[in-house]
Symmetry: C2
Subunit: 286 residues, 2 copies
């Protein structure tokens, strides 16, 4: 634990990805309406479900990413379910609190405290719209990280993120501007798998930053490009997230095996892209 | 209650502001470290404090705006404190959940459900960065509203919001683009009191929308301009928020009276600006 206090989030992610031989992240978005048969559509049903998902996939992942919306919508018990879910995640796996918070400085401090100190997440997602003072409270904590939304995977990313600010799209301005805010390797970016060309460009702009890449799976993002363009030259630092396609691979009694098979399939796809990628240019790990 | 189902948020706000004779909103940001002497620095201490603040100001306000960060950072009990706080607010006052959420469509549905259905807020604040599909789940609910962040009151608003997208600043593009998303009078905007000229311009662009105007008080925004430029031509629909300057007007035993006096002072300032404003052009209500 003492060692963790000295390393940056970026170093820590690198170590976890290397030791576990995985870039895969599973999004833990427990939707009560989608739980497999046999689970009660209650907070405790969701907890049992997430425990099974973790037990059947933990050896394949470098990270889990619970999205807070799904827990908050369970009402008062949701937060307890989230906390309990986090206790099922082995220590050597990164936990990312997908909260997309963003507020003025003194308020953002409270969000950071809630997510890092109370809930204990290793990393969080943060919305850049309110600028530097809204982002700084999430940076500079030893071993902890923040993924700033740059270019998201949803259709709405066209509304503002892709608008041109001078010669450059806004998401690129977000990355260029925010790069200078991080002095301790704690800043990463969210870049959707649905935008491979832009991912490549952003990786060139931020060659050392961790990238959280959602949108593979249900949203139709391209896995091979995500790995090829998302990885850095010498380390990985691309975290490939899959959510619904793994969690709800089957609604039947075989849901855990189906989830594992789906996760394994994505893991295989990632490894295959890593092996073949001329940018990474090295032998596979196994 | 049945009547509420038929009116838009905008109509409802108009009615409340008119009946209560107030545009004032008090932000309920219970910071445990700032509670007056005599209150325990615990969630239940915060609840007692907020109850006193509400009891000493409710006749002066049209709305209360709890910021979720302050409750979330209290840990598991924070949500219960928030729910209990809401029960102390009289029915004829608008409650605004300042959560600044924003996520892809299916996730945003869960945030909307949590804030509107579980917590029961009348309105919420929403971050525009992820675009239309992230905002739509907050719109179109009968009697409920969403204030989209346009130009915020903090220094970080210069980093992205004020950048030029073509000939216009981003915050203006946000208002122009999002106007078309609202078909049922449920969309409003957050415009900081620290930007009076821009507030005037945005009011011209969105002449019918509710505006939530923070930044008066501790942040130094201009009250008179906020009222003059924030109000619509025929109705008010400007909600002037004050937070810390009222809540922490005194740390002593006279905190409740001091809070009321500070709220009264802002109320007086608002009424004075309304009376003098040539744009509003009508007699004061009392």
């Amino acid at each position: 634990m003492e060692e963790l206090q000295k390393v940056t989030f970026s170093q820590r992610l690198r170590t976890v990805q290397s030791k576990k031989g995985s870039l895969l992240c599973v999004g833990l978005d427990a939707d009560l309406q989608k739980l497999p048969s046999g689970f009660k559509r209650t907070p405790s049903g969701a907890l049992s479900f997430l425990r099974s998902i973790i037990e059947s996939t933990y050896d394949l992942v470098c990270a889990y990413k619970p999205n807070l919306a799904f827990f908050e919508s369970m009402g008062p018990e949701g937060l307890a379910v989230l906390k309990d879910t986090l206790t099922f995640i082995p220590q050597n796996i990164i936990t990312i609190g997908d909260a997309k918070r963003g507020d003025i400085g003194n308020t953002a401090e409270h969000y950071a405290s809630s997510l890092f100190d109370d809930l204990g997440f290793d990393a969080v997602t943060v919305n850049p719209y309110m600028g530097k003072d809204s982002v700084l409270p999430f940076l500079g904590r030893p071993g902890k990280g923040a993924f700033l939304l740059a270019l998201t995977s949803n259709p709405g990313s066209a509304d503002f993120q892709r608008r041109k600010v001078g010669p450059r799209p806004l998401y690129e301005v977000v990355v260029r501007t925010s790069k200078g805010w991080d002095e301790r390797g704690s800043l990463g970016y969210v870049v959707g798998a649905t935008h491979p060309a832009q991912l490549r460009r952003l990786r060139a702009l931020a060659p050392q930053a961790p990238f959280l890449i959602p949108g593979v799976g249900s949203q139709g993002g391209d896995l091979e490009s995500s790995v090829r363009f998302g990885c850095t030259k010498h380390h990985d630092l691309a975290v490939i997230n899959v959510g619904r396609s793994v969690l709800y691979a089957s609604r039947g009694k075989d849901f855990a095996l189906a989830a594992r098979n789906e996760a394994q399939k994505v893991w295989n796809g990632i490894e295959s892209a890593r092996t073949e990628s001329p940018r990474i240019g090295r032998a596979p790990r196994r």
